[in-house]
């Protein structure tokens, strides 16, 4: 097997600069995340009024909406990194893509579950096959499929390429799914009660929501860095072990 220049670069790359930079960034990032999340929680739970229509359940929104936002942010990061990995073959890009997936999947799950917990008291049902929920569910499946693909191919170089293709295919597919589902759904059931628009948000709610969204986003990027570092280490371990298998003859 002859390696292309890019593969060689990848296999031998020692992303020391990334490791050093991320090492310095992590502590302040954690501090900022905790601070923002703490402030967000304080406002969300203690210092914001109940909604005049939804009552106290509106507090679920402060978790639900940021989670849903991260679900999409996670996929965007993953797709973007996959594109960079495919086009420029940058060794860090597929590490970034792989590391974003579990975080995105976890928050997609959280968005679905908290939505369910919000739906029960408000709409009287845990689940409704409306356009938005259905497309988020499909997004969750895309995440799972992406992670399953990574888990199935042992060689990271090949897994990265296959997974990148899948992530990009999913990125193209998401709007298609979204609109097909809207169309499908309105055919059967006109959107009436189950609209997510809700009342326009009062400023008193905007602050906790904004803080929580910022906190979640910071958490996402902090975790993303941690996971990227772990992934780089995993590859280093793999390379060291392969080298040892070669040396084992001595």
């Amino acid at each position: 097997m002859s390696l292309t220049a890019a593969q060689k670069f990848h296999a031998y790359a020692n992303p020391a600069r990334f490791m050093a930079l991320s090492d310095r960034l992590l502590a302040p990032l954690w501090a900022l995340t905790l601070l923002t999340l703490g402030a967000g929680l304080w406002f969300a739970l203690f210092n914001s009024p109940p909604d005049y229509q939804q009552g106290e359940t509106v507090r679920i929104m402060y978790v639900h909406v940021p989670s849903a936002w991260l679900a999409m942010l996670g996929y965007s990061v993953m797709a973007l990194a996959s594109a960079v990995a495919l086009i420029f073959r940058h060794p860090l890009a597929d590490v970034a893509a792989k590391s974003a997936a579990p975080i995105g999947a976890a928050f997609t799950f959280l968005a679905l579950a908290t939505g369910s917990l919000w739906g029960k008291p408000m709409w009287g049902t845990w689940w409704e096959w409306d356009a938005r929920m259905t497309s988020v569910l499909v997004l969750f499946f895309l995440y799972l499929g992406y992670m399953a693909l990574w888990a199935t191919i042992e060689d990271p170089l090949r897994a990265a390429r296959a997974a990148a293709v899948l992530a990009l295919a999913g990125a193209i597919n998401i709007p298609v799914i979204r609109y097909s589902v809207v169309w499908w759904n309105t055919l059967h059931q006109p959107a009436s009660v189950f609209r997510m628009d809700g009342p326009t948000i009062a400023p008193a709610m905007l602050l906790p929501l904004g803080l929580m969204a910022a906190g979640f986003t910071l958490l996402f990027f902090t975790l993303h860095l941690v996971r990227m570092r772990a992934e780089i280490m995993r590859r280093r371990v793999r390379n060291l072990r392969l080298a040892r298998a070669d040396e084992g003859e001595a």
Binding site: L219, L223, V226, A243, R244
Partner: protein, 66 residues
């Protein structure tokens, strides 16, 4: 205080929501950090075992093994 936990009769939903979110986030943070710790300590150990001999670090992946 009791009123706060009562959440206007929606306590079960609101607190489950926050509890679930806390659990998922905690699990994610824990898993990420422990994975980092595990991989980096493994890498350290292997590097030490290689004793600086293996600065080239990488061998190309074997195609025939899978």
């Amino acid at each position: 205080m009791a009123e706060f936990f009562h959440m206007g009769g929606y306590a079960a939903y609101v607190w489950t929501c926050y509890g679930l979110a806390a659990a998922v986030v905690a699990a994610l943070v824990w898993q990420s950090l422990s994975d980092w710790r595990r991989q980096s300590s493994l890498a350290d150990k292997l590097e030490k075992a290689a004793g600086g001999r293996v600065r080239r670090a990488a061998a190309p992946a074997r195609e025939d093994d899978r």
